[in-house]
Point group: C2
């Protein structure tokens, strides 16, 4: 009893209390809470999307910043196209249509695996980028913490991971607060900023840190495309609603579709608002790794609210919170997707949800570790991480939309052509963005992901092949078990004491054929063992082996070979007394002979090594 | 068969071929080979002892160097006293009298343990200091390698460790070469140097590196005592012959005693010769960590032989070789002493020689690791390591001599008073040196060892206490084994496949009371398992457990509790099928549920967990 609860308590401490099956489907989402929970990833990208555009354009000098507005308009248009495209997915997959499932079902297993690889990378990048951007928002408000950016980011990841391991995921309602807080602060910022612009009271923002190098290159088409590619980060997270359809209150499809469009509208409003105001207030992006760094949103808020007052801090706090929330969504998505992929046997079964939360814990740990490594390698620099982010996102967008086109064509039905057309436009648009991103951001890090996706796909396949082979080897079809009637039990002893006697008692219960084995190193000691054996040997015959080389292992292994040769197809069991010490460090004071013997016999068929625990009390 | 030899080959590759018992006592040593093998530690200290004296005196300016000669004479006198004292030990302990045994038998167990701690530390320091000094000799000849001192030292330790793991220790004769090579080169150096001095052809050596700070302090008694303490490194290694008496050809005692005196004479000759010549050639010690560093011996050889010619390189090569040989002796001594201490149950039994060489391998690995850490921490600086070296050496000297005094007094016999007097003088002399070293070198690192020795003694005792308690708990005296007649076998299954059927076959052989257990997570799957069970269940009853929390572990552990409660004193065996994959990384693709179950049941009495291996072929 106590053992069971010790194990239980430990696990509960780590992963939280288990959920009784009948409560597994927690309360459904209204549009209000659905928006809050599913849109944090999409909305939070407003915190860095504008900055990425102007940072690139600045390379051609301050005059080039006028191009930011048309670039922003194109991106907003694309965002709406993608949103309408995903609206089709909601109706086609009311049970939740992730890119993996849509691509697998409609294009083929390889497309599914590519989408799976892209999505897993996407989730890792969501965590890394959102945390880096969240830390940037904090550092903008408190410049003295700039040196500790990486540490702060890692601390955030650890806290989110612990929260998720313990299961905060279950209490969804508190997640509404950051989203609406962010919406309110940003709309207040845009409103006040627009009012000042209209009344002509704009004072250009004076940057506090090192501005991005300016005018080092000409304003080429390539540069504009790079700015566009960077700005497309605004589109990340749009797919979230279509994955979460079954979580909505009925009518699920309608509620989800409405929520998606509201979210897209809000994204476009915030993104365009920030982009326009950043131009109006002549905000200049700063070098993120240099002290005094401040995000574009922070500079804008400082300019609009006339310095670092309560409203300014509200915007920064809200931005930080929604970015942390965005990172948090990946902590639910990554384990869920891993579990689905593992169920299809393309990932190790440790990720497969087989009842309790252990599988999700594995996913959470892997995600935290990878995101943490990225933060350290890129020193918590949002800008440096963005090129890695985009590839995964747009690969999965493209495959998902393309899959939908094939689905409509195959299934037909009323109005299939309109639906297919929406998705086709979405697929082509996202494919174009993917190409633009891959070309313009290749050298900045996109190559890593372009290299990693096929590598992951190959690994998925090799895992799958392994499980298939194991399945064949375990299959009962056409198999006849061998007849096995005999179990020879060998008890190696190093002396005569209570643990040995207990092991003998146990061995005698396993089989009528038990033999104790002792290796003779010193004839005097051996004579003593023989004498003791008469009294304590439990009637078991004692075999004494000679050791020409004073080795204990080799004569024993040779003897086991002989015993095995007597009846090659039957079982041989080696029974070893094993000390269970009272304190863990006492393990270091005992020979690990049992382990050595087990290691030596691991690959020997029909041979079982059993340890009979002997519990030391002090 | 193949398994046995795989294990054997691996071990042989690592630790060398086993020695048949009848060859264990290899050929005895003549005085010539005995001197070569047992004196490397003592002779090699000539390489750094003089340097340590003049380095300290230089602090009071070049004029203070005249004090080096009287200091050297006092040390030489002490060396002879200690040698004569150890000559008594040879006659009293013809089977080899190390400080541990002498102190334990004649003073008491605590004195023995203090000596043991001091000796183990001494061996570690011998390796660190000798290697550092050997590297210093190399670097003196090839100044461009100065930056790689630590790496070179570590490489040496690794090579010596591998050599000893593979058993080069056995072929003693090649060890004569470095010793006699060193003797010949040094005597040539001293002869040539003396000839030049007599003929008045001395040209003072011009140092190539940064000289030690000079004239920063007055020539106080304390400074002279510090110089003396440093010079006493010349005495390290004198005890080696008295430990090795039984290795000599008969008459063992006489041969050993003669060898000891020859060695002491050579030590004094070389040490005084180098000290006198260093003064005559006005050699100034350099800063070891600064580029261009050159040892005193190297500068002297350069001065005497008029530059870096063949004779100069011979001296440097011989010095390096004998220092490596000195380090190598510790690789035989440390495991041997650990084995003796472990036999007395004051060290973990992994160090106890129980037949083959595995115990010695553990000692070699621990020694290499500790010496390597010291080299890294002290950046391979001989001078920085010396203060740590001396304490261990002189603690064991003092305890060993004091033990001898008590032995003579207790045993009496003819001429006991003379013998006791020799040892008393030795004990008092070494005790005085110990005090001088402890006081003058305390702040430079001696405190570490003064702190470490009692700590080690406490640890020895706690290890001993543990083994005593285990012994009590294992003792058969007055013990009656409980009657145990029943073994309930539980086979947890996760499905029906070949590995499960094989585990069932095995379980049925262990006991007539076998129960298979399945945890129901999905009723459809469970129904399928029940259906398959009828055909493949081997007639074993299937128990299906409900899981309120979708956990697989908890219902199983609760069921095992129930089974145990049926017959609390009898055995319960859990039989698990265990996959043995074809490739090691396949392990990562399988649940470690067997491990989890074993971990959860580890502390449960009378419960045995058995894995029946199922071998995957691909």
């Amino acid at each position: 009893m106590s053992e069971g609860s010790t194990f239980g308590s430990l696990k509960h401490l780590l992963v939280g209390r288990p959920i009784p099956s009948h409560l597994a489907h927690h309360e459904r989402l209204s549009k209000t809470t659905g928006l809050a929970i599913l849109s944090s990833d999409a909305l939070s990208s407003v915190a860095y999307a504008t900055e990425e555009i102007v940072r690139t354009l600045m390379l051609a000098g301050a005059a080039a910043l006028t191009v930011a507005t048309p670039v922003g308009i194109v991106i907003s248009g694309l965002l709406l196209i993608v949103a309408f495209s995903y609206r089709q997915t909601i109706h086609a997959y009311p049970s939740g249509g992730g890119a993996y499932i849509v691509a697998k079902e409609n294009i083929g297993p390889t497309a599914g695996l590519i989408a799976a690889a892209a999505l897993l990378i996407d989730y890792v990048m969501t965590v890394a980028v959102s945390i880096a951007a969240g830390v940037a928002a904090v550092v903008s408000a408190f410049p003295q913490w700039h040196v500790n950016r990486t540490e702060m980011g890692l601390a955030c990841i650890v806290l989110i991971a612990i929260g998720n391991l313990r299961g905060i995921r279950e209490s969804g309602r508190i997640f509404s607060i950051p989203t609406y807080f962010f919406l309110a602060s940003l709309l207040a910022l845009l409103g006040a900023g627009a009012w000042r612009a209209v009344t002509g009271a704009i004072v250009p923002v004076v940057p506090g840190g090192s501005p991005t190098p300016s005018g080092v290159t000409a304003l080429s088409t390539f540069l504009i495309l790079r700015a566009f590619a960077n700005g497309c980060t605004a589109m990340t997270g749009v797919e979230a609603v279509s994955n979460g359809v079954p979580a909505f209150k009925p009518p699920e499809e309608k509620n989800a579709a409405d929520t998606l469009l509201i979210m897209a509208g809000l994204c476009v409003t915030l993104f365009m608002g920030v982009t326009l105001l950043a131009g109006a207030y002549r905000v200049v992006p700063l070098v993120e790794s240099a002290p005094g760094y401040e995000t574009v949103v922070s500079q804008l808020a400082r300019g609009v609210f006339g310095g670092r007052g309560a409203l300014y801090y509200a915007v920064q706090a809200a931005t930080t919170l929604i970015l942390i929330l965005a990172a948090n969504t990946a902590f639910a998505d990554f384990p869920r997707l891993s579990s689905i992929i593992a169920r299809d046997r393309y990932l190790p079964r440790q990720f497969m949800n087989q009842g309790d939360r252990l599988a999700f814990s594995n996913g959470i740990l892997v995600l935290s570790l990878l995101a943490g490594i990225l933060l350290v390698v890129f020193q918590g620099d949002t800008h440096a991480l963005i090129p890695l982010y985009m590839i995964g996102v747009f690969v999965s967008f493209t495959l998902s939309q393309a899959g939908m086109v094939r689905k409509w064509r195959r299934e037909g039905g009323e109005g299939w052509l309109t639906s297919a057309l929406f998705n086709l436009v979405g697929a082509v648009a996202t494919a174009l963005v993917l190409v633009v991103v891959a070309v313009t951001k290749f050298a900045e890090g996109a190559w890593i992901i372009l290299f990693l996706i096929p590598l992951l796909v190959l690994w998925f396949r090799s895992v799958h092949r392994h499980y298939e082979r194991v399945g064949e080897q375990l299959s009962l079809r056409g198999w006849r078990p061998e007849e096995r009637n005999h179990n020879t039990v060998v008890v190696p002893i190093s002396g005569v004491h209570r643990a040995v006697v207990q092991a003998l008692q146990y061995a005698k219960m396993l089989s009528p054929d038990v033999r104790a084995v002792y290796v003779d190193v010193d004839p005097k000691v051996t004579a003593n063992v023989r004498r003791e054996w008469e009294r304590w040997g439990e009637g078991v015959p004692l075999v004494v082996l000679q050791s020409a080389y004073r080795s204990l292992m080799e004569p024993l292994l040779e003897y086991i070979e002989q015993v095995d040769a007597e009846r090659p197809d039957d079982f041989v069991t080696i029974v070893l007394p094993e000390f269970v010490p009272a304190r863990w460090w006492h393990h270091l004071l005992h020979n690990q002979r049992a382990l050595l013997i087990k290691g030596a016999l691991l690959f020997k068929p029909n041979t079982v090594v059993t340890s009979v625990p002997f519990h030391l009390r002090k």
